[in-house]
């Protein structure tokens, strides 16, 4: 189907009825997914700096309230509003697939995430401008398609090609009926600017170089062990559980955590299983490019390049891939 770009605002107001609509926009100079307040979303240009991860897997999520003392009781916090993520690109869509695989499909089902995911409608859009650090193609993605999104908009100059991939997407499209016209739009042809030599065999071989200390020392040298890469990465899903106590009662919450922090693996009694930054960054890279693959069949890196642009020490996962590819194949 086709949608005239002029009618985009009307579509957005349809989407925003009684639901929280998140669109890419500027918040004090930082492009991120923000609540839509009627302005035109920034769909083109580079991808958002902060991923949409915060919507499905919030920075701080209250899990349950508790009371101690004689009548101790625990009450789960359940209310979840309906949400819509509009203007998602292929790489962020893949990150949601990864998180679905972790939180829903494997082992226990994480009820918090599952509930949020069930109440979220995702409207993806074809990638209109690859950033200088993008390499999603070499991670096996097609920037111009998002098969697992509910609705996908492809860019046709003055109009969007609209197609629904899921029944929920189709149901939603019915509401757009009056603005849709027949006809489809050719697939756009944006390509990534980077192409690191990532491949399925490299993913297998990576665990082989686990003990190559000299390589790891050189790769992890400049790292300053901050959490920037974890918190701007769309697929990092590690979290910490904590309790905010207010004198005998309070809230238990989970919040983002980063494997790069020094107290991440701090056991009671002082022993730390990964005390040095070499071990921690090695674990991060291997988890993204190898370990996750063994369990879920896809890499945990979607090639969005956010960690490359934001790393204070200018570390670069794409360069890492090229270097290890070179080391692994000989």
């Amino acid at each position: 189907m086709r949608l005239n770009k002029k009618d985009l605002n009307k579509i957005l107001s349809i989407l925003a009825e009684g639901r929280e609509l998140f669109v890419p926009g500027q918040v004090r100079g930082i492009k991120q997914f923000k609540l839509w307040e009627g302005e035109a979303p920034e769909l083109d240009g580079e991808n958002t700096i902060l991923p949409p991860k915060d919507i499905l897997f919030p920075k701080t999520e209250k899990m349950y309230t508790y009371k101690t003392g004689t009548e101790a009781e625990i009450a789960e916090i359940v209310d979840m509003p309906e949400r819509i993520i509009f203007g998602l690109r292929a790489c962020d869509m893949r990150s949601i697939e990864c998180m679905d695989s972790v939180f829903i499909r494997e082992g226990f089902e994480d009820s918090f995430y599952a509930r949020r995911r069930a109440k979220s409608l995702i409207v993806a859009i074809a990638c209109s401008g690859a950033g200088v650090n993008c390499f999603c193609e070499s991670m096996g993605l097609d920037p111009n398609a998002a098969p697992s999104a509910d609705i996908f908009l492809s860019d046709g100059g003055d109009c969007y090609g609209v197609e629904a991939n899921t029944e929920r997407g189709a149901a939603e499209l019915k509401k757009w009926a009056e603005y849709l016209t027949e006809g489809d739009v050719p697939k756009s042809e944006t390509h990534c600017s980077l192409a690191p030599a990532m491949s399925r065999e490299l993913s297998k071989k990576l665990t082989g170089i686990f003990d190559d200390d000299e390589l790891w020392q050189e790769v992890t040298g400049p790292c300053i062990q901050c959490g920037t890469c974890s918190f701007v990465c769309p697929t990092c899903y590690c979290f910490d559980i904590n309790q905010a106590d207010a004198g005998g009662e309070g809230v238990a919450f989970r919040c983002w955590d980063s494997c790069m922090f020094s107290d991440y693996n701090q056991n009671a009694g002082g022993h730390n299983t990964r005390p040095t930054k070499k071990q921690r960054l090695r674990n991060r890279y291997l988890h993204k490019l190898a370990y996750f693959n063994e369990r879920h069949g896809m890499e945990l890196c979607v090639g969005c390049g956010r960690c490359i642009s934001k790393c204070p020490a200018h570390l670069d996962i794409a360069e890492f891939i090229d270097k290890t590819a070179e080391v692994c194949h000989d």
């Binding site: 899990m63 508790y66 101690t68 625990i74 082992g107 309790q243 299983t273």
Partner: protein
């Protein structure tokens, strides 16, 4: 894949614990206490397999994973050593107080693989707790297993936990040898004074048809494995339970990974061969 039963949670959400009441607290040693709990409606919170863990939550302080060392008709028990702020806070609890509990987690000991075998149980200090859960299970199904040799090591005799099991119940089991050793001699003990690795060597056990179940500090495991290897034990026959930091307990938070394996989901029980495949972290 991993079969999952989590019937002790609040309306099925694996991350939200259920309130349970402490019905009994026993002082095992100076710094180890065993807490027995029951859910509010007086029933057993969940039916754990031997070696499985429960996530104990002291409301307002924090959560930690402890192996379920024993269970009965309407209770389960865990032994907790006071090492950090949370465990010290729990040691201040008294009977009738409430804790949060969710579980069971972990894959538990491979009871089927052990069927028909002689078993050497080794428990180092608080490591005796997970081993005890397996011994109690094997005691119930005694006929399915061969000879038992139970070894317990501790700093001094006063640090040996579960005294009535080690000294009364288990020696009475047929075809069972109970061997206690301590690091440091005290006047109320005249038995063996030796580190576990050396002591195990003196027991003269043969590797044929025998599996070893060993839990305790990692140095003890490493040294004892070397001695067992000298005695001819294959690494595949040695089973241990990993003691790492676990946060969520359901394989999501990423904290307890060794390579691609999650200790709380794929473990904590591994054979040494499985551990060798993982990257040496």
């Amino acid at each position: 894949m991993i079969e999952v039963n989590h019937d002790c949670t609040c309306q099925g959400n694996p991350l939200v614990p259920q309130v349970c009441r402490i019905t009994d607290i026993r002082n095992e040693t100076g710094d180890v206490k065993t807490f027995r709990v029951q859910s509010l409606d007086g029933k057993r919170p969940f039916l754990p397999m031997p070696g499985q863990l429960g996530m104990w939550s002291m409301l307002g302080v924090g959560e930690a994973m402890f192996s379920i060392t024993a269970f009965g008709e309407d209770w389960i028990e865990s032994s907790i050593k006071a090492v950090g702020e949370l465990t010290e806070a729990m040691h201040e609890l008294s009977v009738g107080d409430f804790v949060g509990l969710r579980g069971p987690y972990g894959n538990g000991f491979p009871v089927d693989a052990l069927k028909g075998r002689d078993i050497l149980f080794i428990g180092g200090g608080i490591g005796a707790a997970p081993v005890r859960s397996l011994i109690r299970w094997c005691a119930v199904h005694r006929e399915q297993y061969g000879r038992f040799d139970i070894v317990c090591g501790a700093r001094t005799i006063d640090d040996v936990p579960f005294r009535e099991d080690f000294f009364e119940n288990w020696p009475k089991m047929d075809n069972t040898g109970v061997h206690i050793t301590v690091d440091r001699k005290t006047d109320n003990w005249n038995g063996s004074v030796a580190f576990i690795p050396d002591y195990v060597e003196t027991l003269g056990l043969t590797p044929e048809n025998r599996k070893v179940v060993m839990c305790g500090p990692s140095i003890m495991i490493r040294l004892t494995t070397e001695r067992l290897a000298k005695l001819g034990f294959a690494r595949g026959d040695i089973i241990t339970s990993m003691e790492t930091r676990m946060k969520c307990g359901i394989g999501k938070c990423g904290r307890c990974n060794i390579g691609s394996k999650y200790v709380c989901l794929d473990g904590p029980v591994f054979t040494l061969t499985e551990l060798d495949e993982l990257p040496a972290e």
